[in-house]
């Protein structure tokens, strides 16, 4: 070791972790296409257009008005 060099610190016992408000990609998501509505997405995902409110509730931070969704938005699709 050259004079003045500091010995390396030992970080072998460092413990770490992580978490997120975002779901993992394993969870289903859906990217809104032109011509989509929440009812249409619910019909495709659940087979029941009346389930649109479930998607709306899971994405309230993205949807100000359930009648106004935009192509390219990525919605979380909750389990049926």
């Amino acid at each position: 070791m050259a004079k003045g060099d500091r010995p390396k610190a030992d970080f072998s016992d460092v413990e770490s972790g992580s978490s997120s408000t975002a779901p993992s990609p394993a969870g289903r998501s859906y990217t809104v296409q032109k011509g989509d509505s929440l009812s249409k997405i619910a019909k495709r995902e659940y087979g029941d257009a009346q389930q649109w409110r479930k998607i709306y509730e899971a994405n309230r931070d993205l949807i100000a008005n359930p009648d106004l969704i935009y192509p390219g938005q990525v919605f979380r699709i909750p389990e049926a």
Binding site: S18, S29, S39, W52, V74
Partner: protein, 147 residues
Amino acid sequence: MIRRYPAVLLLAATILAAPGCKKSSDAGTPATATETATAQASITEIQLGRHLSADKRVSDATTKFSPRDTIYAVALTQGSSPNATVTARWTYEDGGQVVKEDSRSIAASGTEATEFHISKPSGWPKGKYRVTLTLNGSTESKDFEVK
């Protein structure tokens, strides 16, 4: 027959006005709104501290830590990415030594908070550290110190 028209029109109007049935391709949709919705997720802020609140934000922001502290770094992100990877790289003394590197895959949608934390039971060596968070090619760093 003529008397039935108002009822038919009322029924049609009710169906069209049902929530969740309006199509996304409505004329007049502002282009800027669409562009915002399709923006790829990126890091907008890094928070550092010793504790997290329930919404995974740092509740006591600081860049000064003690050797026994658990250190939290939160990446606040904005935008949509159905499959993105956030990476945290912790380094010591001007990046000369990597302390830890972790990553987490997320389906970002809107504003999200992704936290990484490190602790060292034997105590952190005193000195200057840096955490660098990366998402979709955007990189943000923050320096901190253990005294």
